[in-house]
Symmetry: C2
Subunit: 258 residues, 2 copies
């Protein structure tokens, strides 16, 4: 299955502008043969929208999700995108998997990073959100979640082939390390694909690392942004192409009672 | 605390030759100000000694351990080295921490790799082996053990500052990935030091990757062999020098119920 990843410049608080950007990418992704487009964490509202987020937080019937469903149906492609999700008085940092008219599948981030996120969102209990698509099992995580090996392991033990990770990775030494070493390690140590999709540029509050990438089971990068600009990339999620690595690095089988 | 690591060419089945090599390194390490020398997995017997290993497997009173105790006492340095350990009918792939006249501390590998190791050794139940030395807590793992994030996490949650890993990493694509990305990730995701000490060159059965290295909590390499030749390296294990990284990447605190 071919996926597309959108390293995206979001506009804080401007849902319509962000939907329009995703819509253009969805059309381009479809033209490139992709069946699924992955966009960054909170890209519907902008990651740094801050005090605007409570008012923009929405249910699965809100304008952001409805907009994504229209985009998915029009372009004929599934879309994963981060949004602020309202559930009564609670707001979650969530990602929606939207496939045309199907009921949206929503994952809520379990591991919030730092004071900014904790001031806005409620953390979800860690748990698996797994989608069957095109003969593959796709798992969802968001940003800081993937930095914990436990979260990726849990999905891998449940049989996922690929983990899709909308993120908002800031520029700086830790961000550089995570992009340069940790994402590939998560793929290799579980023998799965990891698609890690970051924001481009900066918003009012944050400067992002860019460096979106898709790592394969053997730890190689099958798509990579080397800068922090906007990029649409394509990657083929084909476990059979990495059968030798999967057979030769049997971590899940050898894990035992560690 | 300064440590030294010996990327070592072992001679399969020749315990006296291997002890002599460690003895030279211990003297050089002491001259360089190190308080601890780390040598590779099964370096006392040679990793590839194969059918010779059962006869060379020994208890803590065997010639290898007695030789290491003499080396430690003479050079005035603690030594970690891999050996084949006999316990009745069972043989373990073990590493001994030897500090002069103190009772040796012995760690048994829990995660055996491949048919070669499984034909020779019994796997131990995963568990923590932690040594207090110079105000630091040092944990022991062996080779494949460190490739499982669960093993390093367990030691980190128990408070270790550094994980010492005698290894026998083969040359090849997986070995290159592990050396280039995974060791640093284990350090960063737990905010600990990881000293990963491999064999040099080749023996009758295996060609090794070399590439021994010491990773710091921020994921940087504070010592690295870039080839597969013999090298003695030095690294200072000083958590205070990485206090900003440890405070800024609070994975253990944020792990919660993941």
């Amino acid at each position: 299955m071919r996926i597309a990843t959108l390293q995206m410049q979001s506009i804080s608080g401007d849902v319509q502008a962000n939907l329009a950007r995703i819509e253009r990418a969805a059309a381009e992704a479809t033209r490139g043969g992709a069946e699924l487009l992955v966009a960054p964490e909170l890209c519907v509202t902008g990651y740094g929208a801050g005090e605007a987020i409570p008012a923009l937080a929405e249910t699965a019937n809100g304008i952001g999700i409805r907009g994504l469903r229209d985009i998915s149906s029009t372009a004929g492609i599934a879309v994963v995108a981060g949004f602020a999700e309202r559930d009564g008085a609670d707001i979650y940092n969530s990602a929606a998997f939207i496939n045309r008219d199907a009921v949206p599948v929503i994952y809520r981030k379990s591991h919030l990073f730092g004071a900014y996120e904790r001031s806005l969102f409620k953390p979800a209990k860690p748990g698996n959100c797994i989608i069957d698509m095109g003969g593959l099992k796709l798992g969802l995580l968001i940003c800081y979640d993937v930095e914990f090996p436990e979260n990726v392991r849990r999905l891998a033990m449940a049989g996922v082939d690929a983990v899709l990770v909308p993120t908002a990775l800031p520029a700086g030494p830790s961000g550089t390390f995570i992009a340069s070493h940790m994402i590939q390690t998560r793929a290799f140590e579980n023998q799965v694909f990891v698609a890690y999709v970051n924001h481009a540029g900066a918003d009012e509050r944050f400067t992002f690392a860019g460096q979106s990438r898709v790592a394969a089971p053997d730890g190689s990068l099958i798509a990579v942004c080397t800068d922090d600009q906007e990029h649409l990339m394509f990657a083929d999620i084909d476990p059979a192409a990495f059968a030798a690595s999967i057979a030769g690095n049997p971590y899940l089988k050898d894990l035992g009672s560690a």
